[in-house]
Point group: C2
Chain length 311, copies 2
């Protein structure tokens, strides 16, 4: 396909269009994914997560600028959560990133959780593949750490940066163990805040609690807005990368990512089978019967599955 | 089943156990759902959503106390979002609700987004059904409005209360249209805050923007912690209920809820079919091949679907 050749040739427009095709499940999108797959595997995926207002966008922005000095090609996928409350603020952050938008070596894409036929995480995995084939050395996936699918996405990153913010975690009780499960590298942003050191200390104590780390997550400090602490954070990310390369972990992670993608593709196939089911009106009839308690929804689902399998 | 008889007889312990069985997909959980289904349909489901810190728990708490004066039986499902950041705070809120915990007419259940085999929303729908059969007049489903599945759940409520908080929406740009799509009834909590009136005004302006409301969401003020404004909010909820009863909307909503449940049940069946697939090692082999680019994940999913359908 011409568009894919253009993508492999480094066309930003082709890149944007292919991502849209996959997002919207336009005709032939599976063929696109199949064709570009052999051109993927070079990009390193960095997840950036943390509570709203932690400065994830600014931090990503600075990390990208540092990597651009090394002449690396960068992709950024910013995931807007479903929430009508935080969506505004995050989109706002995106606009501040405008100086990166004009950088030919940086591709930025926003993704909303809503309106994706096949789910956010499938669309994001697809976009990662396209950016990988496009030739990105690093792909940043930025998301607030709320919502099941959002966390799932970040968990599939090669390295996940957990951005913490002082004050929020003043009470150690408020930071749950879940943070530890997700973060590979921690950074306390807004380190000029009085509580920053305490937050770092608490984080470290929390991490000390687990003794058998293979790679103990480093905790650094940063003031992203002042470009402070970015080098150290980048060094930590790279040492996590080294560790994984030396221990065959990256390959396993990528197989895991493929697994997730496969599962979601299968679900989409099944959904389409149901949607294309010739007895759609029959299902509507069953639903009406469920309203009057003549049949229950669980028996209906069994019946639908049976019908699909017998085709 | 004895347990179901106990549930219908009003046993709180049976209620808790049955919800757990459904949550964990213990053996026979589908039969439980099938059996209790004909005993459901009497409870009115109220979704309570809003940003973290808006005071949703306190507000729910007060609403429940007012309804208890009417001698209504109440179920509360508190959904802890996946986020490791907010989880702490919300669990904290739950503990404050301890005086309701000792009320025989109130059943409280916390649900975490993680660790549910079949997804949060399926587990929640199941819990709603059990509480309905248990005899609850009202079921509150409380969740922060972030994350795809969380919003999906709230959208299936009979009435969704959107709890807003002053300040957060000071900039009208920050409140996205999405809020309007979800909320049936709005309340500005913490109304003793200086910005409260402005927030209400902005909300009303936003709602005025759409001209063709069938039921224009009322906006009221409350100070939940002081038990102020609860009567008015309850009045608004009840008038939304009346409106829906008089316009045959409730039945449609419940069919919609069944639809969602059916879709998720089907996905679970399919997942189980994949998991029980005798060629599991064959899939592992394919995954390894995908790592070395011999095959792509999309062709693998097609193959798995084909295999399942051919069984």
């Amino acid at each position: 396909m011409q568009m894919i050749e253009k993508l492999l040739d480094g066309s930003k427009i082709a890149c944007a269009r292919l991502i849209s095709k996959i997002e919207n499940e336009s005709e032939g999108y599976v063929d696109i994914l199949k064709t570009i797959y052999k051109h993927t595997g070079n990009a390193y995926v960095i997840g950036v997560t943390g509570p709203p207002g932690a400065g994830k966008s600014t931090l990503t922005d600075k990390l990208v600028k540092h990597l651009r000095k090394e002449d690396k090609k960068i992709g950024i996928i910013a995931i807007d959560p479903t929430s009508p409350f935080t969506m505004g603020a995050i989109l706002g952050d995106r606009i501040r990133m405008s100086d990166l938008n004009t950088d030919k070596g940086v591709f930025i894409r926003s993704m909303g959780a809503r309106g994706h036929l096949g789910g956010l995480s499938k669309a994001t995995q697809g976009a990662i593949k396209v950016l990988d084939a496009y030739g990105c050395d690093y792909i940043f996936v930025e998301t607030v750490g709320v919502g099941q699918s959002e966390v799932d996405i970040v968990k599939t990153a090669d390295t996940t940066v957990m951005v913490m913010v002082p004050g929020l975690g003043d009470d150690i009780q408020a930071i749950k163990a879940g943070v530890m499960e997700i973060g590979d590298v921690f950074v306390v942003n807004k380190a000029d805040n009085d509580h920053a050191k305490r937050t770092r200390l608490e984080l470290q104590m929390m991490l000390d609690f687990k003794k058998d780390w293979d790679f103990k997550p480093p905790v650094s400090m940063a003031i992203a807005s002042e470009d402070e602490g970015i080098d150290e954070l980048l060094k930590n990310i790279k040492s996590h990368r080294e560790y994984q390369l030396n221990n065959d972990i990256l390959m396993k992670k990528r197989i895991e990512r493929n697994k997730i993608e496969i599962r979601e593709m299968i679900h989409r196939y099944i959904e389409k089978l149901i949607a294309n089911h010739e007895d759609a009106s029959y299902i509507d009839e069953l639903l009406l019967k469920s309203a009057s308690k003549e049949i229950d929804p669980y028996s209906i689902s069994e019946e639908i599955v049976k019908n699909i399998l017998n085709k």
